[in-house]
Point group: C2
Chain length 327, copies 2
């Protein structure tokens, strides 16, 4: 295993110190693994997300005006503990209430919900939404129900724009849930990754094989097969998404998400194939987002997300944000 | 070799089509591998850069208000031909003149300079600057003199801000040259890459070895050694930069550039180590840029750039830009 790290037990601490030294628009909550937007306004709904680390820029890279108010980082591929999430809620101490955006993994769900209960007992108004956009598998190693993956970033963006406008907690939660209802994602991987804390590969894939439907921690997908052209891979991915949800004759946002080790050149080739195939299928792409949004360490692979848009979602999605990881 | 591509002879065409479908702020010049900023103003200096492909977001990702007016893409790791560069100059047809920002590789230098001569013969006012920020090697496989690498992005940003203000060609060229004089870069790699057109690896590196001072096409560096901690690697890289140019007691911009396959988590650990070591060496980091700016396909590795700042460079560097790959 070759990684640019120092102490495998101190990875998250050093990453956070690096973020703080290079991004002046965020600060840390005491010694917690929590960063928050220095411009955060207490009279607006606080939006908090987080989860295991190793998925950067998710979630700390999305803290800033127009997206998240704070993000909580667990250890690599490990849910943050409830006290960390609670520290985020208490520090922001919103007068308008707090919305927790949770990816559907058993640990995240449990720990974020405990934090919500603890904060509620302490007279904080806290609501939660659960993102489960991955159409690949129904249950998985780490989930009951579908996994939450890159579609979560659309929830950050759209709920973030709504909170920024000064909307109420119930209104922010309503649009977050509208995104969750209308977003679907499917991912594939070309290689496996080394988990820095164990020094071991997450799984083995031979020289010509790719994995369909895998999760962002290297959890198994639905099948393995020989590498084929981008066009055929994209068609198969989109067919699975379109089978799950009817996007025909709708306007959509399209996200081509790199899993960390995919050259940008390939993301644009994939984007071209996805645009062409969606056109054939009468799905109208209103806007596209291409880049690394939710990664899995150095994994080479992609996920594709589709979000069905109405006028409200379109407007919120296109609102400016100061977050630099949003592209 | 596993890549998300279709036809290895059509990679650049499909990448450009993907860029055009997903970025509404750029357009293409006829059938050339040239894209330009749709908001480009003919009465301002035109800034054009480019080079071989495989380094994305460099350079097409930096086209937009406040940075490049146009970018020209060659085949993978291959200089664009003079007619491509000339097409960019002619299409923009600036009334204020054109500055070509060239990375110092024999092919790029030759082809961009021929284009400049052709355009000059055609009554266009064209100037060039040559970026040679890599302190690793004096001459190399593909260069006479030092190579141009990630420091080039600081030239794009600062000359771009100057052009945006409506400065004259000589003024834009002057600040571009000031950046080139004051920027130094050093890179290392943890792995080799597959060249999509040949299906072959660019070089071989064993399981525990890293290469110091390599180029962005996998050209050899100065030595290979066993992987060590991020802190020690960063110190060695910075020592080589600080030996080449005196940054002590100065304010600098620090760029931690991922080479395409490096997890963002590691970029921030490296950024933390770089900040700590520069503080020890009395180099004052005024601002930092962390992300993938100039890559080498899926290479895991980093480069570190330092740029000495004065008041003029500071102001231009911090000007807003609409370019989303600038972070």
């Amino acid at each position: 295993m070759k990684k640019l790290i120092n102490d495998k037990n101190n990875i998250i601490e050093e990453m956070i110190q690096g973020i703080l030294k290079t991004n002046k628009s965020v600060k840390r909550v005491d010694n917690f693994n929590v960063i928050y937007d220095t411009k955060y306004d207490k009279n607006k709904v606080a939006l908090i997300s987080g989860g295991g680390s190793g998925h950067e820029p998710a979630h700390m890279g999305f803290v800033g005006q127009g997206m998240l108010s704070a993000a909580v980082a667990g250890e690599v591929f490990t849910s943050p503990t409830p006290d960390q999430v609670e520290a985020a809620i208490n520090h922001l101490n919103s007068n308008a209430g707090t919305l927790l955006i949770i990816k559907n993994y058993t640990g995240d769900k449990l720990n974020f919900e405990i934090a919500a209960q603890l904060a509620s007992a302490n007279n904080k108004q806290v609501e939660t939404v659960l993102v489960d956009d991955d159409v690949a598998v129904e249950n998985s190693t780490w989930t009951i129900g579908r996994r939450g993956i890159a579609g979560t970033i659309y929830v950050h963006k759209i709920a973030g724009a709504m909170a920024q406008k000064g909307a109420s907690l119930s209104e922010v939660k309503r649009v977050a849930e509208k995104v969750i209802e209308n977003v679907r994602t499917f991912g594939i991987s070309l290689n496996s990754i080394y988990i820095p804390t164990t020094g071991k590969k997450s799984f083995e894939l031979d020289e010509n094989t790719i994995e369909f439907g895998l999760g962002i921690h290297g959890e198994p997908g639905i099948k393995r097969e020989a590498i084929k052209s981008s066009k055929l891979i994209v068609q198969e991915m989109l067919d699975l998404i379109l089978k799950d949800y009817n996007y025909q004759n709708s306007e959509v946002a399209l996200m081509i998400n790199g899993l960390g080790g995919t050259p940008e050149m390939e993301l644009f080739i994939v984007a071209n194939d996805a645009h062409n195939y969606l056109k054939e299928k009468n799905v109208n792409v209103y806007t596209s987002n291409v880049g690394n949004f939710m990664t899995s360490l150095e994994m080479q692979g992609i996920s594709i997300s589709l979000l069905k848009l109405d006028d409200e979602l379109k407007e919120l999605l296109m609102e400016p944000t100061e977050v630099k990881s949003w592209k």
